[in-house]
Symmetry: C2
DNA sequence: CTGTTAGCGCCTTCAC
DNA sequence: GTGAAGGCGCTAACAG
């Protein structure tokens, strides 16, 4: 049915071993035979079978990516970086857009294992113990992006979330804001939510501004969290001049809710985002946000992943220090138009 | 190194055939042996090797998806539908977010072929002849989403773009608008751009409103097209009260440019989007748009794909009528807040 | 009910 | 330089 290496061999009048060598550009054959074989290949329309190749060769040139379906834009940007670098290196990418359900990620990892991916990139969610165990069991390189593992020492690629949030909040304070509301991450998770929460609080503390717990809301990084958060703040009756958030989408939710409530941004309330996805530039007004170099992070992730693979390092037992291949990328405050300076009368 | 079916067989004291049967839930073995084998599997931590399986079984339980990196939100919604249905049926999804470059899609198809995907879903872009040829050559089922092939008879899943745009435009007209600008698709492509362009023009014609070519702009479905388009219209000096677009992102670009220009929506200008992605609800003001049931379309695509596979129909020569598995989904006008009624004085 | 035996398409020693 | 042969892990007929 389908044309195989054997057909090519016959057509070219050589053995399959020779064909294999030529396909894989290994040395050991004459210029002439090469011509013949190449001709036969073209003539027959031969395509190598990656399954057979992977079966014997023990590499599939495939890397698996697990990412929660948080924000389309967040994923897109990250994926872009991953995809580009993977492609450059001749790898394909299997993405599992883990849906709502928590169980899926584990199942997807299992599928990755069965499909023999050469490595996995795990994005932005907290790893559960079963996942960690499975990952260790798979004996493949693993890179975490925008997240960390508490129990294992998987190398990660991320920004310093606490510092980033600290810087963002400090900027707000420097602009004269004192009553600052904050919309945090899911259950204030230990991974991204926790550090950002701490960053916010530390900045407030350093400026000796007490934080008003009524102006703190924990959401899930989505648009809805932004609108719900703003409503909660409004309902509290306590005044605030700014709201800092943990994602652009959430910030846009705030923008939207403000608009609905007749509050104008930044005149009535300033808003700070996080991520610097395309949504930030599309927002009205354009969103001032803490920028994560998402595409670079994606590229870096595959780079480190392959490095890990070269070293055949598939063991990630917990240690004191972070894995040597871990990378902390630089965040940056991206000034746009949602934060206004407040002149306080003394 | 890795544990195989053979190890399990030895551990359980049976033959590999029996193990295989049990794994695949085929009939023919005793309760007892099943217990033993299952125990051995668990004990050894055995996982089937999908490559070996695919090599012999001639199915990989994998479907390949090609989609241009147009809009993160557009893709996300569609992918959600695809992913969910595929998962439900035990399939994995390989997505190729075809980047900027046109050459990539063909290369990715080639990779799909080598990896022996069981079918491919091709989204939202015009197929090039080489792609069509390759697809035919691959002998796998193919479904087109939000696009069509001119030369081949691949079944598609889409909305009636012309009618949808006609309806949207007509709505604008019914609301009293006459000077309506239009931002179309890339080069006015034959696939989505063409029909939408025609739909717009037909609606105008039916209302006996001449279209002002200065108020027509062809972009690429992105945010930037919206801002550029609006600027072009403004520069023309000709008055307009509404702008119809071919994507939500473009519409949001218009919103943004209006905001910058000090025009308020919908008071000064009404705006119509297309797609009804999440961006539409996040927009300020929330965007009135033509809704494509993206998630349903995605689900439908895999459904039809697998149906094709059952029938072993891999031949898509051009015919008079569309393929019987083609589906036209219903579009719908999603009224929100970017279109205002105009009362014209007579 | 269960084991034996062929391959699936390819790569990789090992001879020649 | 090139060919023959032995698997990679698994499924699918055949035999029992």
């Amino acid at each position: 049915m389908t044309v195989t290496i054997k057909d090519v061999a016959k057509e070219a009048g050589v053995s399959i071993a020779t064909v294999s060598r030529i396909i894989n550009k290994q040395a050991g054959y004459g210029k002439m035979t090469e011509q013949n074989v190449l001709a036969a290949i073209k003539q027959l329309g031969y395509t190598p079978n990656a399954l057979a190749r992977g079966l014997v060769g023990r590499e599939t040139k495939t890397i698996g990516v697990i990412m929660p379906k948080v924000s389309g834009l967040f994923s897109a940007k990250l994926l872009e970086g991953i995809d580009k670098e993977a492609r450059r290196r001749g790898f394909s990418v299997f993405v599992s857009h883990t849906q709502v359900n928590e169980g899926h990620a584990l199942k997807d990892l299992q599928v990755f294992r069965e499909k023999q991916v050469d490595g996995v990139i795990y994005i932005s969610d907290e790893l559960t113990p079963p996942q960690e165990d499975l990952l260790m069991d798979m004996k493949v390189p693993v890179i975490l992006v925008a997240t960390r593992s508490l129990r294992m020492n998987f190398p990660y690629v991320k920004v310093d979330d606490e510092q980033a949030m600290y810087d963002g909040t400090t900027y707000l304070i420097d602009q004269g804001h004192r009553e600052i509301a904050f919309i945090g991450g899911e259950n204030n998770d230990a991974i991204a939510g926790g550090p950002r929460d701490r960053g916010f609080r530390r900045a407030m503390a350093d400026a000796t501004i007490p934080v008003n717990e009524l102006l703190i809301y924990y959401g899930n990084y989505q648009f809805e969290s932004g609108v719900d958060g703003l409503h909660a703040f409004l309902a509290s009756g306590d005044p605030f001049t700014a709201v800092a958030t943990v994602s652009d989408e959430t910030a846009i939710g705030v923008l939207s809710a403000c608009w609905t409530a007749g509050l104008s941004v930044p005149e009535d309330v300033s808003v700070l985002g996080y991520d610097n996805t395309k949504a930030a530039v599309m927002a009205i007004p354009p969103l001032t946000t803490i920028s994560q170099p998402l595409d670079a992070m994606g590229g870096r992730a595959v780079e480190q992943l392959l490095k890990l693979r070269e070293h055949e390092e598939y063991d990630f037992k917990q240690t004191e220090t972070p894995h040597s291949l871990s990378t902390t990328m630089l965040h940056q405050l991206k000034l746009r138009e949602t934060i206004k300076r407040i002149n306080r009368e003394v």
